[in-house]
């Protein structure tokens, strides 16, 4: 796609990355993450694996500034400029070019599909290109075009998930964070959604961090992966194959106790 | 100067809420009386102190206020706040303590109680309902040719309801056919449709009974819709007496026949009233209180004049003696000569009916001069002639 070609180019030259060092975080007395080191390098798709309640979402919330670390640092480099995310508000982080497809979708149920998408272009950098972005989203998700005037809240779970991804793309992000995109999707759509993420990544030159339960699907598109167990990084794998081969993954996912 | 404790006069009075405009005006007049009297050495050689609490225009706090005044503050005398609700709410407490009760503008408030120590300052006379609109209907009948039809309209509240009931009786007695008889609710903003409905019944006379915001709304709607065939328009329109509405409506008032309690006409120059009004206006304007002081102030002052005279003459604060004295005396006050009759009402009713004439522009000062509010009724105070029909008089 035309609009993205230059982005890819810039991305490659200037680099968009996330670096997390020694991160501790939690909710009040509940400590969820301890001593996380994690890196997402420019142009990569990194999968964040781990069963429920192990802190994947919390980690993503730390990147998005929704949860403040008690210790450690979260930095992002956007087009070569480094930012300390732990000091920024969520909206400012989005403003930098980091977008989130949140857990539970978090759409605006009483706005129409199109209004939801347009709101995605709120940040200054995205506003001018909103028409192109919208056309792009409709091309990627024809279902959304069909339902453009339906209220988001009355769409089915899967339709909503598409809309959530579409809305995130409307912010013209450099880095995309996705929290469990396949939850509640039909098998046919799980694969399609994961493919869409991979495709978007390609077309828009994104850097992606994806938390996902569905190990086989996640692994299909991941360049690297981390496995989170009880708030620690249990495994950091530099290629998909070593993830597949790891005992931990087998134990966690294939129920092989 | 005197070592004796002051004489304390207690009341609850509206200083906030819907009745506050009247309450504050009345209170100022009373304070002026207290100043005057204290300057003259007080009563029985004792200074006078007014003890008052804000009743918030809410009658449900009134019983408590009077119980406190009488039992706890141990005031020597009690008087009422403004208007019927507050008076009646205080009555059981006051009656139980057998206090003399001078009251300010209660409509037939004593009819049910028949309390013999009750004295009421609004000059309605013993039959308020019938008396109120008598002057208006007489003015209507004085026209030539005699009017045949009348429209009655008023607000959904106590005063308008009584005024309308009286007007209905009087109109029937006078042989006027009632062609419109409706009420409107308190929050009405838009009166044009009311006026148009009235107009469509083609009455000769229109009688309105209203509270302040409606009075203004009514007059303006009449101007906009136009009542071409009507001979006489007016009624018991509370609020037209106040400076605020007078100056706002200005020339729109011309021709309107309205009830009033005082007007600066030559026929009403009671001794002391002009000096009082001068002093009242000095203080009212800076306090945001009605700067003309025609409606309630002179009679509020007079109320305390009466009470003061009773105390001085009987040389006592004994309620029985005071009541006896007030019942049997004719008082000369700045509000005129007053004597009380049945149920503590004025023995001789004195509802004034005035017609606004020659008003131009919006200055308040013009209303302080004679000739703007020409008194048509009662004859004793009559100061000019009725202009009609209404469209003529409006010019």
């Amino acid at each position: 796609m035309r609009l993205c070609g230059t982005k890819t180019w810039k991305g490659l030259i200037l680099g968009n990355s996330i670096t997390i060092k020694g991160l501790h975080a939690g909710y009040g007395a509940v400590k969820v993450l301890s001593g996380i080191d994690l890196e997402v390098r420019s142009g990569e798709t990194v999968a964040l694996l781990g069963t429920n309640g192990n802190g994947k979402s919390t980690l993503i919330k730390c990147v998005m500034g929704q949860v403040r670390p008690t210790q450690g640092t979260v930095h992002a480099t956007i087009e070569g400029v480094e930012h300390d995310l732990s000091r920024l508000s969520t909206e400012d982080i989005v403003g930098l070019g980091i977008a989130l497809v949140p857990e539970g979708r978090r759409l605006f149920p009483k706005l129409t599909v199109e209004e939801n998408l347009l709101l995605g272009s709120f940040r200054a950098a995205a506003r001018a290109k909103r028409h192109e972005s919208l056309a792009f989203c409709y091309e990627a998700f024809p279902r959304l075009k069909e339902r453009r005037t339906q209220l988001a809240g009355s769409m089915s779970g899967g339709e909503q998930q598409m809309l959530a991804i579409g809305r995130a793309l409307m912010t013209l992000p450099k880095i995309l964070l996705v929290d469990e995109p396949s939850v509640g999707l039909a098998p046919i759509l799980v694969a399609r959604t994961i493919d869409t993420i991979a495709e978007m990544k390609q077309r828009l030159g994104l850097t992606v961090l994806m938390a996902e339960q569905n190990f086989p699907q996640a692994i299909r598109i991941a360049d690297r992966g981390y496995v989170l167990v009880h708030g620690h990084i249990e495994l950091s794998a530099d290629d998909p194959q070593s993830l597949r081969d790891s005992d931990i993954v087998r134990k966690l996912y294939l129920g092989g106790d | 100067q005197s070592a004796e404790p002051p004489i304390r006069i207690g009341m609850g009075i509206a200083m906030s809420g819907g009745l506050a405009a009247f309450g504050k005006s009345a209170l100022l007049a009373m304070q002026i009386w207290a100043e005057d009297q204290n300057a003259k050495g007080g009563l029985l050689g004792r200074q006078i102190e007014l003890v008052y609490y804000d009743d918030q225009s809410n009658p449900s706090v009134v019983p408590g206020i009077y119980a406190k005044l009488i039992d706890v503050d141990k005031v020597d005398l009690v008087i009422s706040g403004y208007a019927t609700n507050q008076i009646v709410a205080a009555m059981p407490t006051v009656m139980q303590k057998k206090k003399v009760f001078m009251t300010l503008f209660g409509l037939a408030a004593n009819d049910k109680f028949n309390y013999d120590r009750y004295f009421q300052m609004q000059p309605n006379g013993p039959d308020a309902q019938a008396e109120f609109s008598r002057g208006f209907i007489e003015a209507a009948l004085s026209m030539d040719p005699k009017p045949e039809t009348i429209a009655l309209v008023g607000g959904d509240a106590e005063f308008p309801a009584i005024a309308l009931a009286g007007a209905r009786e009087n109109a029937e007695k006078a042989g006027l056919k009632i062609v419109y008889d409706r009420t409107y609710p308190p929050q009405t903003i838009e009166f044009a449709s009311v006026v148009r409905a009235i107009k469509s019944t083609n009455p000769d006379v229109v009688f309105v009974a209203s509270y302040p915001p409606d009075s203004a709304g009514m007059v303006r709607a009449v101007r906009e819709v136009g009542l071409d065939n009507v001979k006489l328009f007016g009624g018991g329109m509370i609020g037209l007496q106040s400076a605020a509405l007078k100056s706002q409506l200005g020339a729109s008032l011309n021709g309107v026949v309205s009830y009033d309690l005082y007007a600066p006409e030559p026929t009403m120059k009671f001794p002391g009233v002009e000096e009082f009004l001068v002093r009242y206006r000095e203080q009212a304007t800076p306090q945001g209180i009605d700067p003309l002081g025609f409606y309630i102030a002179p009679l509020a002052y007079a109320e305390l004049q009466i009470l003061g005279q009773a105390v001085e003459e009987t040389q006592s604060l004994d309620d029985e003696k005071l009541a006896e004295y007030i019942r049997s005396t004719e008082f000369k006050t700045i509000g005129g000569d007053i004597s009380f009759g049945e149920r503590g009402e004025w023995a001789q009713p004195r509802i004034l009916w005035v017609q606004y004439q020659g008003v131009s522009g919006n200055s308040i000062e013009q209303f302080m001069e004679p000739g703007r509010q020409v008194i048509l009724y009662p004859d004793q105070f009559k100061s000019g002639e009725l202009k009609y029909p209404f469209s003529e008089a409006s010019k």
Binding site: - | M15, S16, D54, P59, S60, A89, M91, T93, E158
Partner: protein, 329 residues
């Protein structure tokens, strides 16, 4: 399997008995004290106490629907006024002792509550609140146009003489209102501690989920609107005897609606003593201010108290006490 959990602390929290003897005994004692001091105390204090207790009844009644079930009633004044006008109407038809009027008012306004419940059964949240507001306006219009109870002109209800053992009619009114307040609180406690309270709490949190759990939400809501309506109306029934002359603006006063909401909020809506404390506190403040600061400023102070209170203690006094206890333990 069940025996495993009998020792768990949460398992021990079996619902307490719905009837509260201590409150009843306190009420009896209160009435006894009132009867004893009848002649020694100035009527002023009786009147002040009456008004405060009237607010206790109002805020307790409001809280049954507003606090327990989460249905915020803006139309308190409508129920209160209907209670007043029941007394007036009965007085016109066939004068009867006040306690009977109070019961009759409870029946009439309970029916109104039931009707409100039916009419608004599909309404949730603010829609319900606005509907109750509208209901009060419609009711006021009806009363204004109903001349049998005085209409716009208002109606007089003269106090009869007080009978033994009461020192005065005001004293009698106070004792009646005390009984009413204790009864209202007992009803609130019973609801709170019984299965009705639990069902209402479930409805408050999520009505659809409650239905799916077998909670007959309509029936419970109707129970709550009826009981709440009856209590609000009974609070209004003696009012004509307090102020002797009632016209629609004084019966449908905004101050009532405001207080009935503000008091439970200041006290706390989750438990029965929240509204009671709130009513006593705010009611007393208003009474004291009326007779101390004799100017328009007293309403100003009520406003400031309200603002300061809800900003400083957002969960009401109940919440404050709970936090204090938590902090201590």
């Amino acid at each position: 399997m069940s025996s495993t959990y009998t020792s768990h602390p949460a398992a021990k929290r079996v619902l307490p008995k719905a009837f509260s003897l201590p409150i009843l005994l306190f009420g009896v004692a209160l009435v006894a004290v009132e009867l004893l001091i009848g002649t020694q105390v100035s009527e002023y204090y009786f009147l002040a106490a009456y008004v405060i207790l009237q607010y206790v009844v109002l805020s307790t009644g409001w809280n049954i629907l507003g606090g327990y079930a989460g249905y915020v009633n803006f139309g308190t004044a409508g129920f209160f006024a209907l209670g007043c006008y029941t007394t007036i109407a009965l007085n016109n038809i066939l004068p009867m002792p006040l306690p009977l009027s109070i019961l009759a008012a409870g029946v009439v306004t309970g029916l109104l509550g039931l009707g409100t419940g039916y009419l608004t059964l599909r309404l949730r949240g603010v829609f319900f609140s606005i509907a109750t507001l509208a209901l009060a306006v419609v009711l006021q219009t009806l009363i204004v146009n109903w001349s049998f109870v005085g209409g716009a002109r208002g109606a007089y209800v003269l106090r009869p003489d007080a009978m033994w053992p009461f020192a005065s009619y005001v004293h009698y009114l106070l004792v009646l209102m005390t009984i009413l307040a204790v009864a209202a609180v007992l009803v609130a406690v019973a609801i709170e501690r019984s299965w009705i309270g639990m069902g209402l709490a479930a409805i408050r949190d999520d009505e659809v989920a409650a239905e799916a759990s077998g909670v007959p939400s309509l029936r419970l809501k109707l129970t709550a609107t009826t009981i709440s309506g009856a209590i609000l109306g009974m609070a209004g029934a003696p009012f004509p005897y307090l102020i002797t002359y009632v016209d629609p603006p004084s019966a449908f006063s905004l101050a009532l609606a405001v207080n009935a909401i503000a008091m439970p909020l200041i006290g706390g809506t989750a438990v029965w003593w929240g509204p009671v404390i709130g009513a006593i506190l705010l009611g007393t403040t208003q009474q004291v201010l009326t007779v101390t600061i004799s100017s328009a400023a007293n309403l100003l102070i009520v406003g400031v108290v309200l603002v300061v209170f809800v900003t400083v203690a957002p969960t009401g006094i109940v919440g404050m006490v709970r936090r204090f206890r938590k902090g201590r333990s």
